[in-house]
Structure formats: C-alpha cells, structure tokens
Amino acid sequence: MIQAILVFNNHGKPRLVCFYQRFPEEIQQQIIREIFHLVLKRDDNICNFLGGGSLIGGSDYKLIYRHYATLYFVFCGDSSESELGILDLIQDLVETLDKCFENVCGLDLIFHMDKVRYILQEVVMGRMVLEINMNEIVAQTEGQNRLEKSEGGLSAAPARAVSTVKNIGLLEIPRIINTGDLNIKVPNPSQFV
C-alpha cells in the first residue's frame, strides 16, 4: 500500500503532497523536509530506494523516488508494493502528466496543482494503485475536463474571484508581484525557491 506521494523541487518546496494517512500539517511538513534531506544527499547514480525508517509507518515502509531535472517524485510504500513496479509507476505518472499538459514542465505543477491532483486520483486511490493504463487515465481526465467545460468551468469564477480579491485588497501585493506579466520581483529570493 502507498502511504504518501510527495513531489518537491530541488529546494525542498512541496509541489504535490498527498498523505494517505492522517498526519497533522506540521508533521507533514517535517516529513517532507526530512525526506527531502535524505534524497538530496543521494547522487543520481545510486539506487532509488530508501528505508522509510521512523518517518512514516516504520520499518515495513520504504521510499521509492525518482529525480527529474528539478523535481523529486517520492512514493512511500510498504512491502506489498514492488519497488521496481513503483518506479515504473512514477515514470508512467510523469508521462501521463506530460500527455495531459502537453510537454509538462515544473510550472504546470504549480499552475495546475488541482488538475495534477485530479490526475493522481485517477492513478492512486485510497493507498492503492487504481489504474496503470496511461490511455485510460488520460481519457478519464479529459472526460472530467470536458464535463467541467460544459458546466462553464471555473472560468467564470476566476474573473469574479479576482475582482473579489481586488476588492478586498489582496492585490496590494502587486507591489511585489506584477500581475501584468507576472514578473515577480522577489524581495528575498531564498524565501521563494
């Protein structure tokens, strides 16, 4: 069974966090941090398995991860999961994302985080792998997106939301974030990466 699926970047910033066991938010962040430090130490040319140890679930659990350019995909699974199977699954997941977002890049995970979660939900459900057939996953995701479109989607909402946001002054931030072209002037870069 899969205990958690984590995606974070080379700086340890979470990009996708999915725990299938309840942990309080602080513990979640702590786990992410610790796992990040564990995998960061490892070269790309050493094996992709790690004992989960005390982090999650104890000795029966192991971490299986893959590193893509700037992102780490980490699955935490127990002994009923095949290590090599999960590695393939990660690859499949990434390829699926690639198909859904047409040449996926790290930013897709930020911009479409909800969509990424919906895709993940088609792959893994309730700690178990639901579907591994990539075409099926893509088809179902697209089906849901079509449905969303036919409902008018959230597209009506953002306009409204943005205006709400404006009204209540969230866009004071443009002093820092220029929404016009989304160039962000970072006051302290280390905080953002």
């Binding site: 050493i46 309730g126 099926e136």
Partner: protein, 1249 residues
C-alpha cells in the same frame, strides 16, 4: 517532456493568467499568507458558490504548504454539495486533504455522499468515491457500505474499479462488512475489465497479506489468473500474494514452482522477474529442507540474482542483494559461492548497497574466512566518512563475530584486539556495544582473561586518549568494561600498581558517573590484590604506600556528582582508613580485604530474571505494607532524606563496623539471599549454594563447538596466552591474521600427516566413508583452548515467553473466516424508511452502538449475544404451535439472526482447494510420491469420517482398488463400476472422487457442534485404463440459460494423451456451446494435453432451454494415446447427467425478503418426507446446501428455512423439519415441475443420510 527545466520559481510564464488564485500563494512570503487567509475567510462568507469554491481551492494549496485548514471544514462540505461537478470536485479534493476521523462535521456528509454515489453522472460518483477513500470513518463505512457494494456491479468499469478499491477501506473501518461483501468482491476477480480485475486483485491481495490463512481457498483462482493474465502489475500482486500463502500450504508451493520458473525464464520485465524470484525463495523456505531436488530452483534464483547484482543499474543491484539475503537464511551454501560479488559490493559508492552487502556478510562468515572478512571490514571502517555508515560497520563487525555464541571465532586474542582497535573510532555511538563484548568475552572465555586484562590495562593507561576528545560520545563506555575486567581478574595483571594509579588519575573524575562508580569499586579489587601480593612478599612498606595512595586519591570520588560513585567512594574510603589503622599496628589485613571479593561472578542469561517462576502462595500484587493514607503529604519524605544525608557528607563518620562484623553481616546477607527466591544467585544450583569456597570448579563450562575433536597435541601455539611475539601495548589484529594463517597451515600439515596414517589404517580395515580433502570449517581448531561459560538460568525457568501480537493492529479485526457461508444476520445495513422497521430498528441500533463502543467487537461475543436474544424470542413464541409459513415469517422478524449456518460452500471451497492442490503435480516435482500418498491418506479418512450407506462405501472401495491396481479385467470391472455409479448418480450426483486428498475443512466457527463430513461436488463421469473423468455442473446467475460443466481429466496410464476432443449428442433442450463455425457434429477440443499421471480441468458450456426437468446427454471423449510403442486412437463414452439441482445457484436470501416471497402467494407447493435419518440436523442442512445449492435463511432448533434460485430466476423456498427419525421437506417454487424434481432429487440424497 522537460519536467522542471523551466521551473524557475520566481518567474511565471508571461501572458498567462492562472486559472485560480492558488499559484500566487506559492510565491507568497509567509507574512502575506496570514493576510491571505483572512481574505479567504471573507470569500467563504459570500453566497456565490463559485467564489466559495475558489476560496476552498486556495485553501487546498495552503494545506499543502503546511497550514491547518480544518477550520474551514464546514465550508468545504458546502462546496462538496454543490450541484456542479466543477465545484464538487474542488470540495472533495479539499476534504480528502484535510478531513480525518477526528473531523466532527464529517457526519454531515453521509447523505451528500450517498446522493453523489447514486448520481447518474459517473464522474460525480467517481469523485465521491475518491474523496471517501481518503476520509472514510467507521460511521461512514457502516452507513455507506451497502451503497458501495451496489456500485461494485455498476455498468461502468470506471465506477466498478473505484468501488472495488474503496471496499478495502470500508472493510478496515467496518470489519463486519467483509463477509457480506466478499462474494461479490471475489466475482470481480474475473471481471471482463482489466482495471476492475486489477483493483479486485489489489484489494484481495492486501486483505490476504494481513490474514493469509483465510484466503487459502482462493489459491486456485489466483493460480488461474497467474497463468492467464498478461498484466504485469496484476501478476506481481498475485505472485507476492502467493509468497504470503505458501508458508501456510506447502503443497501450494510445489504447484507454484513450475509456472514461476517458467515466468523467470520468459519474462523480460525485471520487476516481474524479481518478484518471481522472491516468491520462489519463499516457496523454497516453506518447503524447508525436506526437498532435496530443489537445488535447481535455488541455483536458478541465485544465478538470476547474480545477474541483477552485476547489473549497472543500482536499483537492480540493491534488490538483488536484498533477495540474496533471504536465500542466505535457508540456503547459505549457495550464497557463499558468491562471496566475491558481495565483497565487491562493499566497495560500492552507494551506501544503501553497502549496507545490504553487510547484511549478507553476516551469513557468509565461517571459521575459515572470518578474519579475512573482518579485516576487510576494518579497512572500510577506516575509510568510511559518514558516522552512520561507520557505526553500522562497527555493529556488523560485532554481530558477525559474536553470532551464535562466537561460533566462528577461533582466536579470541584476535577478537579482543579487534575490539580494542574499534575503541579508537572517533565519534561512534556504540561504545557500550564494544564494552559489552569485552565483558562478555572476558567473563565467558576463561582462557582469554590473561590477555584481556593486559589489553584492558593498556586501555586504562591510555584512557585520556579515549575519553578526551569524545567525552559524551559513548566510546568512553569501554572504560567501564576495561576497569571492571582489570579489577575482577586482577590476578592476571602484570603491573597492578601501575593500573591502580591509572585508575586514580584526577582526569577520571570527568568520566560519566556510572563509569566512575565502577572505577571506585574496581580500585578496591585491585587494591586487595596488591595488598595480598605485597604481604606475601612481606613488603609492609609497599603495602602501606598503596593504602596511602588510596586514602589520598579516593576523596576526589567522594566529591563526585554521581550519587553512586559518591556513595561507594565514601564507603570505601572509610574501609581503607580502617585498614590503614590496622596496618599501622602491623596486623595482616590482605586476607580479609580480598575476602570482600571472593567468589566468581557468572554471566546471567538475558531473560533469566523474567523466567524466575513465582512460587506458590506468593501474590505479587498484594501489598507488603498497607499504603499510608493520602493525608500524609508526600513532600515530607524527601525532605527527611535530605536532612539525613547532608550531615553525613559533611563530617566523615568513623567506621561503623569492624572487619568481623562486616564478615558476619555479609554471611547473614548471603544466607538471606540464598533463601530469597528472587535473588539471582551466584551459583547455578541450590546444592552448591553453601559451598562458599571461591572455587570455579562448579561453573558450568561448555566446550566451544568442535565437531571434530582434533587437538594439536603438545603444541605451543604462537600468539597463545600472554602477548609474546607482540610489541607490548596495542597489538595489531592484522598480525593475528598472519599468525593464524601460519598456525592453520601447520595444523593442516599435521593433520595431513595423521590423515595419511589414518588412511593407511583404513585401507587395512574395512572401507569407511571417504574423507574430504578440502579444508572444511570444522577442521580449524581454535588457537586457545576455549571454554565458553554458559549463561545461567534460574532453576525451573519458565518456558520461553511467546511474543505477544500487537493488540492495536487494525488488521486483526479483518481476521475473518470468509469461507463460512453467510448467516442472515450478516448483511450490510441498508437505509430504510423508519416506519418500515419500527419493531426492529432500536435493537439494530443497539448493536451498532455496542459495536462502535468496543471498536473491534469480537465476533464470537456478538454471536453469543444474538443467540441469547434469539432464545428470548423463542420463549416468547413457543406458546403456540405455529404453522410453517408463520414460523418463517416470525423468524424473519426476529432478525437477531439464526445460528444456523449453511456449511455448504465451505466444503466446496475446502474440498476444491484440496482437490486442486492434490491434482496435477507439476512435472518438475517428483510425480510418484504425491498422488499415492494423498490417496493413501485420503482413503482411511473417508471411510472413517463419512457416515454413508454401506452400498456406497463398497462402491468406493471398489474404486479405490481399481485405482490402486489397474487390474487386467478393467473393462469388465469398469462396466460394473459404471453401473453402480449411474445408480449412485441418480441418488446423488455429487460424490467425492476417490483419490481426492480431502482434509478436514478448516473452520473456526464456534457454533459448529460437530465436524462436518467432507464433501466434494465432483462426481465420476467415466473411466477407462487411460483416463478418468470427473465432472461438476455449475449454473451461473449471469447467463440465464447456460451451465458450465467442469470436467477433470486424469491420465491414468503411462501414455501421453493428446488431441482430446469432447463431443455430445445435443438434445432439443440442451446443447454444447461449440466454437463458431463448427457444426453440431463436431467435438470441442480440450485445450491441453496430458502427460502420464497428470490431471487438468476443462470447462464446457451448455445452453439449456428448459430447466424444469433433469436430463442426460450421451457423449464421447476421443483422444490419441501415445507411448513408446506408438500411438493409438481411443474413445471413452459417457453420460452427462444434468440434474435439476445443477440449475440451482446458491443465492443468499435475507429473512425479510424470504418472508415477502412466501407471502406473495404465487408459489406452488409440494412436499416430501424421508424416514430413518440419523444424521444431525446441522450436517443434514450442510448436505442440502452443498449438494443442492441452497442457502439457509434461518434456522430455529430443528427447523430451517432455505432458499435457492435457478439460473432462470425461479425461486425455490424450502422448510426443512427434523422429527425423531424423519425429515420432512416442504417446498415452494414458482414452477411446480421444477420443485417436484428438485424434491425428488433431494429425497435421494436424504435417503442416504
């Protein structure tokens, strides 16, 4: 795909405005987020659902960043219940992120989720299922289990697979749902959609992993899936599952080896290969050592693993080593051949691979290579950069050396020097480990003490090195051992005075307290030894000097911060001062001082204390003194202690007792301890308790494992006792390695000489077993005569304590027997209108509450309660004799549930499993032993257990004879047999094929009063010298006019049977389903060939028009039998008998529905009565269930209602009543012909009871 290449977090893609406000948050510094949360709160207050959804979406991002969003739970529920999928999905996503069992608003979602589950849109349902899988609680599981179960048969595979998968969560939270839902879950294993099938495999594998024994009966099904599926993911799951099942059923393992080996050879997927190897290993372990001819399989595994380990892919290397260590446990020899590879992996750049290799080394050492391996490890210790890895190396070295009572160590001096070398490691956390080893070796290996003491004194001398840099790091722990060893075995010290001074250095006070305490204690031991030495030499001057030294130095310990050290020091200081006084008067004191430490300490086994039996009449829980009342404040006591203690420290008290007094007290204490059962005595047995001489003769001594007692006579072993040949001080363990090699070489020469002599002698004498030339492990004699003192255990030690299972294990609740048929009380709670069940709902809810309170209700208890309830009900009802219909409906209302259980399906499965396991042993395994053994075992069993009619037994005997010795007159006999059989078939077509190895069905139900006879649904179809056919007819509810005939073909000859073809003469009513394009006269080919002694099962589908009458079809099996002499074309005729009961399908029916069915009144009625029945009612019902595919709806005493359904949807209801010696069966059915035929068949069955 360029994942991440563009990920420049500070900069977004120009020109795009993200859909939701979420992404902004990721770029936002923490201080803005609190502001942002305020604004989200504003948005949540708005009525517009889109705004709300957007806000919830943002919260989801925030949650990922580590902010608690549970405060918005109610808003999330609002968004979940939006009508639009777009919003609903956002709501469920947020809920799946932040809801958990403690979320109190979660109970508000039940109805919303139920609505979504039954939504016409598959995505609504899907999103609800996904969400639910994350936050399902016991309440939700109970309330929604039935809805989800319905979804398992949804038309859309998308829903089906999700529903199947979520069932696992439901089972976990609501274990009562497992049994009712399991049949359907099992069906899904054969779902046409691969996704659904995979989901079902997932769930069942996960269930089975936790409680494998309940799922053994599914093995045949999984076996079929394994041999037919091409989905690697499913295959991996199944193969892993088999790995968990084989330990429970070794026969399964035998059956698995061949297909697994085939997979290993054929698959290109590494993941599958790896899992196959793993399971083969598990199989081999389960088969234990009794199977000699599995070495080929082990070799194959080891070979494949070697390929993995040699691969450049680090992942494969890692897994290869991991699997190798599993083989190592049972077949160390085959792994040891690859030592080179493992040692090579120790140099790998990847730490996790090095660690795995270390694990392997543990099992690879022998007397021969221990030194070499440890030497290699020591170089790694020097090289290792990370402390974790170095610590791991250190523990491994110690583990390797100390394993199984130092089995592999031939030279303990070498080991001690290794330990000493290890103390020079900086920053290790494992000082205490080294210390424990030093102590253990020094105490238990008597021969090494002299050497150990010299090493330890050197260590004490250089204590500053050990203790300085790494004060708190733990390595100073070794000083604890060093001090103790030097003190305890001070008689071996060369320079006791020097060691004494080393132990009294001022620097010592910086050591941790407990080490100081040991120092103090052992200083006195040393002191006693020196005194004795000096007095013997009549050197009073020196003796007084030593005393003076102690008097001067001990006060530094009196000021120690550690209480223990302080107390001991002040005690001893007084003692020494007293001695000083005596010495001044020229009184010899050495004897008395050393008497303090007379006797020897023996090692005590780690569990010894726990195993001291509690003597009779002792109540450990009783108060020794009644506790004082609470009113006495507790803070007074400590105060009193302090008052007492402070003055004591301030002024030095005069010695309280003189030496004699001390001795007297000691004696008294010894006496007391001797009588105290809880004191671990220093002598091993009570008889020796009073032999208080300090002798060591009674210490139990075991010789180190020396299977070949080859002693080197009169040989002075170099590097023996003492440190001759070494520089004084720290010896290098490497020197030992060299010396040891030389020693062994000499030894070998010596032995060769002797062998030659021996051989000459042997040549003269009778021929004995040849001796091996290679140097085996046992040939190496230890350098010293090594005695290992055993650890002591108290007398009458209790037997070893079992390890308790974790009572909090959530999976224990799922340890449920799934083969037992469902009782009618076991069903999923269905939502109903309240008024419809006014009379029962409170009761029902009571149960629910009880169940909820005691989180994991014990099934037995529940059953018991139900039984009681049932009893009460009965008492209320028994006043009037009720007509049959009434009883049923009344019973139906008393839904507390009957205790009746139809045992039928247990037996189908149990027996089928055995049958499956006993047939078709794979060609690789030794074929002859299995069927023979099984048949032999089965035969007496059946005779004993099956209370059948004589006629039948006779027939069976005949069959067995026939099987055991295929007689020359087989044709004739076969005919006779067939006649008998056809007679039998009329009565009961279900008979056990004689060669089945039927074991007692496993059942853990508490309510079954007596064991049920084994039953099998397979009956003989036809048989000749070549082949035997048994068959079973099964209807299926899905296809309303089809039945499947499963025919087991068993090759009884020594010929190879092929081109088998089965053909029947179709009747108007029944025809064989043939492949498309073939005419009615063509046969259906059997899809396999049969090597000698093998059996296999083929299935044929028949289409039936009318099912109300029984019928027979004539048919022929044609085949080609090929043996050495050539091939012949053979035929075997048979008659397929379709009884009416074979059209019935076991269908559970709940008492409510049953009552309604009867009340509806459109059923025709018929009845039969059979006299002279002695079988118990329980078994009778089981028989009816099994042979006639009924299920028990309700049972009250000796009356039971039963239900079944035909494949065409006819309801068949029965009321079975048992009288004194008779049984009456009343039936109601929507078709009167069917009913009368079924009852007729049933009468035949019952007549045999």
């Amino acid at each position: 795909m360029n994942l991440g290449c563009v990920e420049v977090d500070g900069r977004g893609p120009t020109g795009t405005v993200p859909g939701a406000a979420g992404p902004f948050l990721l770029w936002m510094p923490a201080k803005y987020i609190s502001q942002c949360i305020d604004e989200i709160k504003q948005e949540l207050k708005q009525d517009n659902i889109a705004v709300k959804a957007n806000a919830v979406c943002k919260l989801t991002y925030l949650q990922m960043l580590g902010y608690d969003i549970s405060w918005a739970a109610f808003n999330i529920i609002e968004v979940m219940s939006a009508s639009k999928f777009t919003f609903k999905r956002i709501g469920y996503l947020a809920a799946s992120q932040c809801f958990h069992e403690g979320t109190d608003v979660i109970m508000l979602t039940t109805n919303q989720i139920r609505k979504d589950l039954s939504s016409p849109s598959q995505y609504d349902t899907g999103v609800a299922l996904t969400g639910l899988s994350c936050f399902v609680t016991p309440d939700l599981a109970r309330d929604l289990a039935n809805d989800i179960m319905t979804l398992m048969s949804h038309t859309k595979p998308y829903i089906r697979k999700k529903a199947v998968l979520i069932m696992y969560k439901v089972f976990l939270k609501y274990p009562e749902s497992l049994r009712p839902a399991f049949p359907r879950l099992k069906e899904k294993l054969e779902d046409p959609d691969p996704g659904v099938q995979s989901a079902a495999v997932n769930v069942i594998c996960e269930l089975a992993r936790r409680n494998p024994k309940n799922y053994l009966s599914l093995a045949p099904l999984f076996f079929k899936l394994m041999t037919s599926s091409t989905n690697n993911w499913v295959l991996i799951k199944i193969i892993k599952l088999f790995g968990a099942l084989t330990p429970l059923e070794p026969r399964l393992g035998k059956k698995l080896i061949e297909p697994l080996t085939n997979l290993i050879h054929s698959t290109s997927a590494m993941s599958l290969l790896y899992e196959c190897v793993n399971t083969v290993i598990a199989v081999l372990i389960s088969l234990s050592s009794g199977m000699p001819n599995h070495s080929a399989s082990i070799q194959l595994c080891v070979q494949k693993l070697r390929i993995l380990i040699e691969d450049s892919d680090q992942n494969l290397k890692y897994l290869g080593l991991l699997a190798m260590s599993k083989i190592l446990r049972t077949h160390p020899k085959s792994v040891q051949a690859h030592k080179d590879l493992v040692l090579q992996c120790l140099d790998d750049k990847d730490e996790s691979i090095r660690l795995r290799a270390l694990d392997l080394l543990y099992g690879m050492v022998s007397k021969k290579n221990l030194m070499e391996i440890v030497k290699k490890l020591m170089t790694h210790v020097d090289k290792a950069e990370g402390t974790t890895y170095r610590d791991e190396l250190l523990t491994k070295i110690i583990d390797i050396c100390s394993q199984s009572n130092y089995q592999h160590i031939t030279n303990f001096e070498w080991y001690i020097s290794i330990l000493v070398e290890l103390t020079r490691l900086e920053g290790t956390r494992h000082g205490h480990l080294i210390a424990a080893q030093m102590l253990d070796v020094a105490i238990r290996v008597k021969a090494i003490r002299r050497f150990a003491v010299s090493q330890m004194s050197a260590l004490l001398d250089s204590a500053h090195l050990v203790a300085s840099s790494t004060q708190r790091s733990g390595i100073c722990e070794v000083l604890y051992a060093a001090a103790w060893i030097c003190g305890e075995f001070s008689e071996h010290l060369q320079e006791p005075q020097q060691t004494l001074e080393a132990m009294l250095r001022p620097k010592v006070t910086t050591l941790p307290g407990h080490i100081q305490a040991v120092y103090v204690q052992n200083v006195v031991k040393l002191y006693a030894a020196i005194l004795q030495q000096k007095e013997r030499a009549a050197d009073t001057q020196a003796a007084q000097e030593v005393t003076q030294l102690l008097v001067e130095r001990l006060p530094q310990f009196v000021q120690s911060a550690d209480l223990e050290a302080q107390e001991r020091a002040s005690c001893i200081l007084q003692l020494v001062k007293h001695v000083q006084k005596l010495q001044a008067r020229d009184v010899p004191v050495a004897e008395e001082v050393s008497a303090l430490f007379a006797g020897e300490l023996n090692p005590v086994a780690p569990k010894a204390q726990k195993k001291v039996p509690v003597p009779e009449g002792l109540d450990l829980d009783a108060w020794i003194n009644e506790p004082l009342s609470d009113s006495e404040s507790e803070d007074e006591k400590p105060k009193a202690i302090f008052h007492d203690e402070e003055p004591r420290h301030a002024k030095q008290r005069p010695p309280e007792a003189d030496e004699q007094e001390l001795a007297r007290r000691r004696e008294a204490r010894k006496q007391e301890q001797a009588n105290n059962p809880f004191y671990i005595k220093s002598s091993p047995s009570p008889q020796k308790r009073y032999q208080d001489a300090p002798g060591v003769d009674h210490i139990p001594v075991v010789q180190i494992d020396l299977s070949v007692p080859l002693k080197v006579p009169g040989k002075c072993v170099p590097g023996g006792t003492g440190d001759g040949g070494f520089r004084p001080g720290m010896p290098m363990s490497d020197q030992y390695v060299k010396l040891e090699e030389e020693r062994r070489h000499r030894q070998r020469l010596e032995k060769d000489k002797r062998k030659r002599k021996k051989r000459e002698r042997e040549r003269r004498g009778a021929r004995r077993h040849s001796s091996l030339h290679t140097e085996s492990d046992e040939d190496i004699t230890p350098a010293q005569r090594v005695d290992i003192v055993t650890e002591e255990m108290p007398e009458n030690a209790l037997p070893s304590d079992e390890d308790d299972k974790d009572p909090n294990d959530p999976y224990r609740a799922l340890d449920i027997d799934l083969d037992k048929p469902l009782a009618d009380s076991e069903k999923l709670p269905v939502q109903k209108h309240r008024d419809a069940e006014t009379s029962k709902s409170p009761e029902r809810q009571d149960i629910a509450v009880v169940e909820k309170k005691s989180k994991k209700p014990k099934r037995k208890e529940k059953k018991h309660k139900e039984k009681e309830r049932e009893k009460k009900k009965k008492e209320a009802e028994k006043s009037s004799v009720t007509p049959p219909g009434r009883v049923v409906s009344a019973g139906a209302r008393s839904r507390g549930g009957s205790a009746a259980r139809a045992a039928g399906s247990v037996h189908t499965r149990g027996a089928d499993l055995d049958f499956w396991l006993s047939t078709a042993p794979p060609a690789a395994t030794p074929a002859p032993e299995e069927p023979g053994v099984n048949a032999a075992v089965a035969a007496p069993k059946e005779e004993r257990e099956e209370p059948r009619g004589e006629e039948q037994d006779a027939a069976e005997d005949g069959e067995q004879d026939l099987e055991k010795k295929p007689s020359k007159h087989k044709k004739k006999k076969h005919k006779k047999d067939k006649e008998e059989r056809s007679k039998d078939q009329k009565k009961s077509k279900k008979r056990a094929p004689p060669r089945e190895g039927e074991a007692e069905p496993v059942e853990n139900g508490a309510l079954d009063e007596e064991p049920l006879p084994p039953m099998s649904s397979y009956s003989l179809l036809a048989e000749n010298s070549y082949i035997k056919m048994t068959y079973d007819v099964q209807g299926s509810l899905q296809k309303d006019s089809q039945v499947t005939v499963s025919v087991v073909l068993e090759n009884q000859s020594s010929s190879f049977l092929k081109n088998m073809e089965l053909n029947v003469l179709d009747s108007l009513n029944a025809r064989l389903a043939r492949p498309e394009g073939s005419s009615v006269h063509d046969g259906v080919p059997v899809p396999f060939q049969l090597p000698p002694g093998i059996s296999n099962e083929a299935q044929f589908v028949f289409t039936i028009q009318s099912i109300v009458t029984a019928q027979k079809l004539k048919g022929t099996l044609s085949f080609i039998a090929k043996n050495d002499e050539g091939s012949t074309h053979e035929k075997l005729d048979f008659k397929l008998h379709f009884t009416c009961t074979s059209y019935l399908v076991t269908t559970p029916c709940y008492s409510d529905a049953f009552a309604k069915l009867l009340e509806s009144g459109d059923l025709s009625m018929s009845s039969v009565k059979v006299d002279g029945i002695s079988m118990s009612f329980q078994n009778l019902l089981a028989k009816i269930c099994f042979h006639h595919h009924f299920s028990v709806v309700e049972r009250v005493d000796s009356c039971a209602s039963m239900y079944s359904r035909s494949i065409q949807g006819h309801h068949v209801c029965l009321l079975v009543k048992k009288g004194e010696k008779s049984v009456s069966v009343d039936g109601k059915c929507s078709d009167s012909t069917l009913l009368s035929n079924v009852l007729e068949e049933m009468k035949e069955t019952l007549a045999k009871c």
